[in-house]
């Protein structure tokens, strides 16, 4: 349907309709996309990290997994993934972190290469949809990998995402998706070097009974059922 590029450190938002999918492609390698998701019909229903993790007994996201709302429904399914691991744990960058790691770079001196951060950018983007910082939910960091060892220590994996790898999200309801390409907050790179990603929106077939995301776990079967109940249509012409 259309393509776009999310520039380095930039924010992109869209109401992704049920029956469409967005593919994010890491153009150069080493990208990070922090992402938050809302049910556009009722934005108080939003992505919930704990519900997503515990329903699927996972602490990372990849193909076959789904993103759950806090209302027991599926916002998006990860239908394709050549990256293999996306980080749901670490949150996103903020103004203090960016200033501490990279110093200050304002628009007056640096134009559109000025430093930005994901938290403030999300707040601005949410405001465009009548939402606010209070509505911030926990971001997923696509293309990034953070390992947790036996003692609970978290380690960012450098060089995880390779050039040309992609992840595709299929919308299972009408989803307000907000993406930001700021660097991962645990990225040890001392330089401010966010990367762009390519974005493709296309129409896709609805998930059938054998859909791999639906059948990956019994929990997801129930999650899809509860989601589809929201879209039952009255029979015939009214």
């Amino acid at each position: 349907m259309f393509e776009d590029t999310i520039q380095p450190g930039a924010t992109w938002s869209y109401v992704l309709k049920r029956g469409t999918a967005v593919r994010l492609t890491d153009i150069y390698g080493g990208a990070n996309v922090s992402a938050i998701f809302y049910n556009w019909e009722n934005p108080v229903e939003r992505y919930n990290m704990p519900d997503t993790l515990k329903a699927q007994h996972t602490a990372h996201l990849t193909q076959g997994d789904v993103l759950y709302s806090d209302m027991g429904r599926v916002l998006c399914s990860i239908t394709e993934d050549t990256v293999g691991w996306h980080d749901p744990l670490s949150g996103c960058s903020n103004a203090a972190l960016v200033a501490r790691k990279y110093g200050e770079a304002r628009y007056q001196e640096h134009g559109n290469d000025c430093h930005t951060n994901a938290t403030d950018s999300f707040a601005i983007e949410l405001a465009k949809f009548g939402l606010s910082f209070r509505d911030m939910t926990t971001p997923v960091n696509f293309f990034s990998k953070v390992l947790v060892n036996e003692e609970g220590s978290m380690t960012f994996v450098t060089g995880h995402s390779k050039r040309g790898t992609y992840v595709e999200l299929r919308a299972e309801m009408n989803v307000l998706a907000i993406f930001n390409t700021s660097q991962h907050p645990l990225d040890p790179n001392p330089n401010y070097q966010p990367k762009p990603v390519q974005l493709t929106i296309r129409r896709v077939a609805p998930p059938g009974p054998d859909d791999p995301c639906r059948t990956s776990r019994p929990e997801n079967g129930r999650g899809f059922l509860l989601t589809e109940r929201d879209f039952i249509q009255p029979q015939g012409d009214l």
Partner: protein, 210 residues
């Protein structure tokens, strides 16, 4: 660090929270909150807010990232969505606490266990009930991922999330010092579908002291 005995003169509040009930209370900067697992293996689902700005609230992601560790214990600073230190854990006889497992909800119970589980009582019912009773604008959209004191939710090096038997026991406690004025919202978890409460939800006790 662990003051096992609290001087009764300084105790400002002492409440037993039965399973399935919420508790909401403001702490002044400097006050201590001790949460005691009276009978063992009970999950205390807990949220914290800046008492003067509820959009400045406990952030699980910012907290674990700040210490580069997913488990909470003595020394952990609880970081808010605006980067403030809300409280510090100053005592912990349990060892570690979870902040990835979130709170149970009727809706997530349907997904996790069975559609027929919808009617069963859940923490997020208690959270919303207490938020609405508290008033002052606190509402469902302010419910961020919480802390599960006394709960054990290990992550494996392969990136799996597992639910293990509690590391807690009767009389174990966690103690926090408020670094600013904070609002505390606790749901004493009524979950019967998994071992987080050893299938037997029991009371917890909270002490507030100077």
């Amino acid at each position: 660090m662990n003051k096992a005995v609290v001087d009764p003169v300084t105790v400002r509040h002492d409440t037993v929270i039965p399973a399935g009930e919420p508790w909401i209370h403001e702490l002044n900067q400097g006050q201590h909150l001790r949460i005691i697992d009276l009978e063992g293996n009970q999950a205390a689902d807990t949220l914290f807010y800046n008492a003067h700005d509820y959009s400045d609230r406990y952030s699980a992601q910012d907290t674990i990232r700040a210490q580069a560790n997913i488990y909470l214990t003595t020394g952990t600073k609880l970081i808010s969505s605006k980067g403030n230190v809300l409280l510090t854990i100053v005592g912990d006889t349990c060892g570690r606490h979870d902040t990835l497992g979130g709170a149970c909800a009727m809706e997530s119970n349907m997904v996790r266990y069975a559609i027929e589980k919808r009617h069963m009582h859940a923490c997020r019912q208690s959270f919303v009930k207490a938020a609405l009773a508290w008033g002052r604008g606190l509402e469902k959209r302010d419910l961020a991922p919480n802390i599960n004191f006394f709960m054990n939710v290990p992550v494996t090096p392969e990136g799996k999330l597992t639910f293990e038997d509690g590391v807690s026991g009767a009389g174990k406690y966690v103690e926090l010092q408020a670094e600013m004025d904070v609002l505390v919202l606790i749901s004493n978890c009524p979950q019967l579908n998994n071992p987080c409460n050893a299938y037997n939800p029991t009371p917890i006790r909270v002490l507030v002291f100077d």
